[in-house]
């Protein structure tokens, strides 16, 4: 859970990046943060990652007050988050597999775990055959999927996507968003910063609109209503999926990933056909 209590961030030059923000994001939400550039969207993400600390107020993530967190604890906080950048941030001299493995290696994950987990997340994003390729050999959409796979590598409870579709063509944008939706269905909180209006309208999510450092609109209530309704509607379409994702902590990757993967691909195809 993420909570902002009276949070303001003023930069040394005197401009207010965010001003008196109050916000609560529950576990498992799918949240869009929208607004023009300079609205304070990125500052909010930085505050959540504790790349910045607020000038005033409190930021609480998973029950921990980030303003009181010691610097040495920050890496452990970040391990609970996965970040997807607009510019992918992939290391080109590494293969796709290595790029994903890198995120696990630098957090001290055992090689045996990496060997199992990387193919799993690559399959999840539909890139199981691309492991030996280098990022430059892939399309923008594929690169962003690698970036998502990397963000998922350390099993985060929160995915932060900063303009994930900014460098991807519209069709591929839907794929990325669908993947994020699927990740959300598996119980991961997803935060998407975007300025692409059509994505926000097409994909059901809570929308937080920002302007000049302030929240000017928050659709939390409608989001919950809509989500409950959609969940009921899509029960047939995703029959069996929820059970799998609910059980994910008890099952191993190999037990259910084939099934999830199949469903994700089917879903992507469905939506592509609809378009």
């Amino acid at each position: 859970m993420i909570e902002f209590i009276n949070v303001s961030k003023t930069f040394p030059e005197g401009n207010h990046a965010v001003e008196n923000i109050n916000l609560k994001i529950e576990d498992g939400e799918f949240v869009f943060i929208v607004g023009p550039s300079g609205a304070g969207k990125s500052t909010m993400l930085k505050l959540i990652m504790r790349e910045e600390t607020p000038s005033e107020g409190k930021v609480i993530v998973n029950g921990r007050d980030l303003t009181k967190m010691r610097r040495s604890q920050v890496p452990y906080l970040r391990r609970t988050m996965g970040i997807v950048f607009q510019d992918f941030r992939l290391i080109d001299k590494m293969t796709v597999f290595e790029n994903v493995a890198f995120a696990m290696r630098v957090t001290g994950t055992k090689q045996s775990v990496i060997k199992k987990r990387v193919p799993y997340v690559l399959k999840l994003v539909g890139l199981e055959r691309m492991g030996t390729r280098h990022p430059s050999e892939l399309s923008g959409g594929e690169q962003q999927r690698v970036s998502l796979a990397r963000a998922l590598a350390n099993e985060p409870s929160l995915i932060i996507a900063d303009e994930p579709t900014g460098n991807v063509d519209p069709k591929r944008s839907y794929e990325i968003m669908n993947l994020l939706k699927e990740v959300n269905k598996m119980g991961t909180t997803v935060l998407v910063v975007t300025h692409e209006h059509n994505l926000v309208t097409k994909f059901n999510g809570r929308v937080i609109k920002m302007k000049r450092g302030k929240i000017v609109k928050d659709t939390a209530e409608e989001y919950y209503k809509e989500r409950n309704k959609k969940e009921r509607e899509s029960e047939d379409r995703f029959a069996g999926f929820d059970e799998i994702s609910e059980n994910k902590t008890e099952t191993t990757y190999s037990d259910n990933y084939d099934e999830i993967h199949e469903r994700v691909n089917r879903l992507i195809k469905d939506i592509e056909n609809e378009n």
Partner: protein
Amino acid sequence: MYFLKEGFKNMAHNRMMTLASIGVLIAGMLLTGTAALFSMNVKLMVEEVGDSNVTTVYLDESITAEADAMAIGDELSKLGNVLTVDFYSRDDAIEEYREELGEEIFANMQGENNPLPHAFKVTFNDLSKYDETVQQIMAIEGVDSVGNTRDVANKLTSLNETITNLSIWIVIALAVISLFIISNTIRMSMFSRRFEISIMKSVGATNHFVRVPFIIEGMMIGLISGIIASGAMYFIYDILVSAINSIFVFNTIPFMSVFVYVAVGFIVAGMAIGVIGGAISIRKHLKKEGKEVLNW
């Protein structure tokens, strides 16, 4: 294993700066080593000279008859602090120069033409009373001067001190330069890997994890420099010894007897400078966290 691999990767990636750092470190180590070994040899010489404890008492040139000289010798023996008195005639003295002078000149410097005075080689009981005894000797009529190896020892000691003082400054200056170059080398390799570092930081790598490969890079630069410098020191020492021997013929310290100390000293000092240099630059870089590390 991961850290070692990354450390080597950094070095390979950053070849020119790595080589420059190794070069500067080697130069520093060789200068330090040369100064230290020179100083050790001079100390050995001073000891040898001091041990010989022989003072030469030169008589007036006017005293040409050996009998007159022997009378002065008797007076010398009577002095309390004098242990032995050996006569060293002017004929013996000129004989020592025979080779240098050449036979013709030597032949012309016999008897009346010998420019050298008679002398006595004297040893003392108690060297602490040296100055006092010398005064007593000078008071004896017919004694011209007292020359002694102590002067040589004193001169060598002061030379040694000068060299030591000078080398301390040179070593400090070189250590600072090496530190600067190594920390710049590591800063460059960090700069070239800043993208990777930013990803590492964003997925939750600890500062320690980010730091270690660069510290290893510094350590490896120090280690390689230490090994090369130890080998090079062997040859330089040879040159140093022959240079010393061309001035004075003395026993010198055999290199192999100090090799272990030289090698261990070089390697430890090199690695220490490397680690400190690396730590300085990575500290600076990681302090930027939140500003440029994630570069968002």
